[in-house]
């Protein structure tokens, strides 16, 4: 590693660690990112809120062990990904998911696109596209969905996704490739 990049890395690590000193600001800044990832993964508002709270609580308790190797945002997403993974394996959660009243369906997701001056025809087309992607994402495996959401909703690059998921970059690429194939098939219908 070049000396200058080592200095840069140290400066970034120190800045990231200092960012955690004001935890209230961390919650305010990163809540939307964690919440929408949880919402798109679990498709339930209450469960997403609960998971996001758990995520910040875990981060708060572990803030002294944060070494600044990744950004605070990536670190928080790493915690959120682990929580989503645990939830996906929880058989009680699988049971309650079938009868939940706060579930977000494809129509509700499509309605999130607000009127931005588009014609009724265009709005209908956009709504249909959002519905198709939302539906297709539901049928992805948990890992494929996680990788897909981090790439196409959170705009994270492959290395950041690898850091957040604990997967190798090549594995991330494979999951992403399969996810995009499934989405493409649904959108092309």
């Amino acid at each position: 590693m070049e000396p200058s990049s080592a200095v840069d890395w140290m400066a970034t690590a120190v800045a990231s660690s200092r960012e955690l000193d004001d935890f209230e600001s961390v919650v305010r800044l990163h809540w939307p990112k964690v919440f929408r990832f949880a919402l798109a993964s679990l498709r339930d508002r209450h469960a997403a809120e609960s998971l996001a709270q758990d995520c910040f609580w875990k981060a708060y308790r572990a803030r002294h062990s944060f070494r600044g190797e990744a950004s605070v945002a990536t670190w928080l997403m790493q915690i959120a990904v682990n929580l989503v993974r645990d939830r996906a394996r929880d058989r009680r959660w699988q049971f309650w998911k079938r009868a939940q009243a706060t579930a977000v369906d494809a129509a509700a997701a499509a309605a999130w696109i607000r009127d931005r001056g588009a014609s009724p025809e265009d709005s209908a087309l956009i709504g249909e596209q959002v519905r198709a992607v939302w539906d297709a994402a539901r049928n992805l495996s948990e890992r494929q969905r996680t990788v897909f959401l981090l790439r196409f909703v959170e705009d994270m690059d492959l290395l950041e996704i690898a850091a957040a998921t604990g997967l190798k970059e090549g594995t991330v690429k494979i999951h992403l490739f399969r996810a995009v194939q499934a989405i493409r098939e649904r959108v092309a219908k």
Partner: protein, 154 residues
């Protein structure tokens, strides 16, 4: 020359793996450009919908957890147990000491009473005639030449 992009090549394109050959084809083929644009548009709209703050729950008010609840570590538990043991032992120790002090005082009082009694006994023993008989000693003078009282009476 590629006829059209396969499903795999479309996916490759979307995840950023774009070879010069693919780029050249997309530039020349309107049908493939259209397919890619449709998929990119769907993903872009999905992204916009997901990032719309209107449906996102607001962040809850963050409150710093109480340190005692958050940092109940083993060393602290041991210290707390030691402090509790000292607190519990202090009254017992104080009572034991008070009891010992009372016993010592009682023993001192008893010793004092004993010594007073001994002094009074000593003073009584040291007298030749008991105190009630002392006037007789001072009033009656014994004369050896005078007759015995019983002899006088005879």
């Amino acid at each position: 020359m590629i006829e059209h992009l396969s499903a795999e090549q479309v996916s490759q394109w979307m995840i950023g793996e774009r070879t010069p050959q693919l780029e050249q084809h997309v530039e020349e083929c309107a049908a493939c450009r259209g397919e890619l644009a449709q998929l990119e548009s769907a993903l872009s709209q999905f992204r916009t919908a997901m990032r719309d703050p209107a449906h996102l729950a607001p962040p809850p008010e963050w409150r710093e957890p109480a340190p005692s609840a958050a940092r109940l570590t083993w060393p602290r538990l041991v210290l707390a147990a030691m402090a509790l043991a000292v607190l519990l032992a202090a009254p017992v120790s104080w009572r034991v000491r008070a009891h010992e002090r009372a016993l010592r005082e009682e023993a001192a009082r008893a010793a004092q009473a004993d010594s007073q009694l001994l002094e009074s006994v000593d003073s009584e023993i040291s007298q030749a005639v008991p105190e009630p008989m002392e006037p007789l000693v001072t009033l009656v003078t014994w004369n050896s030449s005078s007759p015995e009282p019983n002899q006088k009476a005879q």
